[in-house]
């Protein structure tokens, strides 16, 4: 076998290598470097080894306590918004019209919240919920419900969750709608002929056909909600107390508030790792689900 040896081909990889190096590898390595050190300002650094990582996983330390508490809040937040947005998105998609001009109208209305910048969403709800001048806050207090997201933990959580549902249910609904539209009419006709009830049509046809888009929806919504920063930061600033302080908010506090670069670097690496692992799990589940659908032969 005579293989042509031409080392010049490496030059073709060089541009990509440089771009990736400057955009990803070097910054990441800087963070890894920081995570092993401590700083007292003045650009003085001291070697700390894996000390920060040990602290992170130890709830008795300040750093570990803050990290694990905010991780818990993040997971709870993601679980709640997924539990609301996914079923709600499915219901919205199912009740949308299939044809006519109303389709376009519905799509535009659904897309609107998705087009609003995140800090604007935060500002809208921050004002909307204020008891003194906000429509929502004023109305709720007017009918006798004592609502104040600045002082009450439950109210703060409710506001952040409702805001996220308002902002992102559309995404789930649009994805589900696309999944529903791809089901050929023959399936519905066959189900009618087979005497299927509305519920049977949903479980036997619509839900299985939406499975893939739903997985994508869950993945996207989990990632986004796990990384949430802007909206709660604008509305509650992480309060009252630390009750709505998510990991990202904690991270910014440590890195920019306290200028503890070492702690912040260690925290962001662990944060990053969690997201990568979750991504990998979703990816594996999705590709397996895809393989299951492929027929052995013939047309699907």
């Amino acid at each position: 076998m005579d293989k042509t040896i031409n080392q010049k081909a490496w030059f073709l990889v060089l541009p990509v290598f440089l771009v990736v190096a400057f955009s990803a590898i070097l910054p990441l390595m800087t963070v890894v470097n920081y995570s092993m050190q401590d700083t007292f300002g003045n650009n003085q650094f001291f070697w700390n080894g894996v000390g920060w990582f040990k602290e992170l996983l130890d709830p008795s330390t300040d750093l570990g306590g803050r990290f694990l508490a905010s991780l818990g809040r993040n997971l709870f937040f993601s679980a709640v918004i997924l539990a609301i947005e996914v079923p709600l998105g499915i219901v919205v998609a199912l009740s949308m019209p299939r044809q006519g001009w109303t389709v376009a109208a519905c799509l535009v209305i659904l897309a609107l919240p998705l087009l609003i910048p995140w800090n604007v969403v935060g500002t809208i709800w921050q004002i909307f919920g204020r008891p003194d001048i906000g429509l929502l806050g004023y109305a709720l207090n007017g009918i006798g419900i004592n609502y104040n997201y600045v002082s009450n933990e439950f109210d703060a959580w409710a506001t952040v969750i409702v805001m996220d549902v308002w902002h992102w249910t559309s995404l789930v609904a649009l994805l589900c709608y696309a999944g529903l539209k791809s089901i050929p009419d023959a399936y519905y006709q066959a189900a009618q002929i087979d005497g299927a009830s509305r519920w049977a049509v949903f479980t036997a046809i619509q839900l299985p056909k939406m499975k893939r888009v739903l997985l994508i929806a869950v993945l996207l919504r989990f990632m986004d909600s796990f990384m949430i920063y802007t909206e709660p930061f604008v509305v509650t600033g992480g309060g009252p107390g630390n009750s709505t302080t998510f990991i990202s908010i904690e991270l910014v506090k440590i890195a920019l508030g306290q200028f503890d670069l070492g702690k912040a670097a260690a925290l962001s690496l662990v944060y990053n790792l969690i997201i990568i692992i979750v991504c990998w799990i979703f990816y594996t589940v999705m590709t397996n689900a895809g393989a299951e659908r492929r027929p052995e032969q013939g047309v699907a």
Partner: protein, 361 residues
């Protein structure tokens, strides 16, 4: 199991107020007997699927009635009609096994479990699906999926009719034959009314006792395969069925004679009262016109090419500007570019405005 009557049935997707010329299905009155095998044959857009969907109740007709055993079922929903339908693309419930797919229609109707199991086992046996009952239906081939679709119709013991909407479109050619013979066998065994929509004449002619040929929203002929071949009621049936199709040539017809291109051809029957002003044509299948050596008294034609189909050869010729096909008799060798055409008078039909005219003896 039922006799199906269509009474003045018509449909327009534009609603009942639409212009009759635009109807997807023009008014048709017809009776399909219990246990018959019928094929609706026609090109795409001829209204055959519309007719099928009217019978299954997926589409509600804008005019007319449908009777099952004399009972008007026009206003009934698909669920209540006791119809089974197999679609062009296999419809399979993805999450279920083959067995669960077959059981689905019975489960929805609240049939007791023991009865469902017995019925599913029986139908799976008929369709050779027994080994697959526990497998996920999505993993099977297209022809097995079509069998499952059919099986979901057959499990219901009381179906009035089974409708097929071009069910073999996605099946591999060699499996088409198998599946079609399976259908024929089931039809004989189960005494079911079957209605089969297709644009493939071979499928229609081999499957059905009665073929309903449709063209442009209209039923143009309703008869046995032999009738469609021997006596097409419409020029469309003539050239749509048969390969090559019937020759249709403009002619002047007087009494027992037709004149084509200045040449006279004898006819078996007399046509004295042709509608005046109508477009008169004669139609004759290539099987009943022989190529011969040019001779006085024979219509002469220019030979363009010879198609050898193995058992039979057809000559593609031209009479003036009109294309024409004729049989080359066994042992006859074609010489030169001009040939004479010998017509079999008993198979020459006369058409006025595309409709068959019956002559008098």
């Amino acid at each position: 199991m039922a006799r199906i009557d269509l009474v003045d049935l018509a449909h327009s997707y534009g609603g009942s107020a639409a212009d009759p010329a635009s109807y997807a299905l023009k008014p048709v009155t017809m009776t399909w007997r219990q246990g018959g095998a019928y094929a609706l044959l026609g090109p795409s857009g001829c209204g055959k699927t519309t007719l099928l969907n009217l019978i299954s109740g997926i589409v509600t007709p804008s005019h007319g009635k449908i009777l099952f055993d004399g009972v008007d079922i026009t206003p009934l929903s698909t669920q209540k009609r006791n119809i089974a339908q197999v679609f062009q693309f296999p419809v399979i419930y993805d999450t279920m096994t083959v067995g669960q797919n077959l059981a689905f229609p019975l489960k929805n109707r609240g049939v007791p479990k023991a009865e469902i199991d017995a019925r599913v086992a029986e139908i799976a046996g008929l369709l050779d699906l027994t080994p697959y009952l526990q497998r996920k239906a999505t993993r099977l081939t297209a022809d097995a999926k079509q069998k499952i679709s059919l099986g979901r119709g057959l499990v219901r013991s009381n179906v009035a009719a089974i409708l097929f909407d071009e069910p073999l479109t996605v099946i591999d050619p060699e499996l088409k034959w198998q599946l079609r013979s399976k259908l024929k066998a089931l039809h004989r065994e189960l005494d079911l009314t079957m209605i089969y929509v297709t644009h493939d004449q071979t499928e229609a002619l081999t499957f059905a006792d009665t073929v309903v040929v449709m063209h442009d929203g209209r039923v143009v002929q309703n008869g046995t395969p032999a009738e469609l071949f021997d006596k097409p009621a419409h020029t469309f049936v003539g050239y749509f069925i048969g390969s090559p199709g019937m020759n249709i040539v403009a002619a002047e017809v007087r009494g027992r004679e037709a004149r084509i291109d200045g040449h006279t051809i004898a006819l078996d029957r007399s046509y004295e009262h042709l509608p005046s002003g109508a477009r008169i044509e004669i139609g004759v299948r290539p099987e009943f016109v022989d190529v011969a050596l040019p001779a006085p008294g024979l219509l002469s034609a220019n030979i363009e090419r010879i198609d050898d189909l193995g058992r039979v050869r057809f000559a593609r010729v031209r009479i003036g500007e009109t294309k024409f096909a004729a049989r080359v008799p066994p042992g006859f060798s074609v010489q030169g570019e001009i040939a004479g055409l010998k017509f079999d008078p008993s198979h020459v039909h006369v058409y006025a405005d595309s409709l068959l005219v019956e002559g008098t003896a």
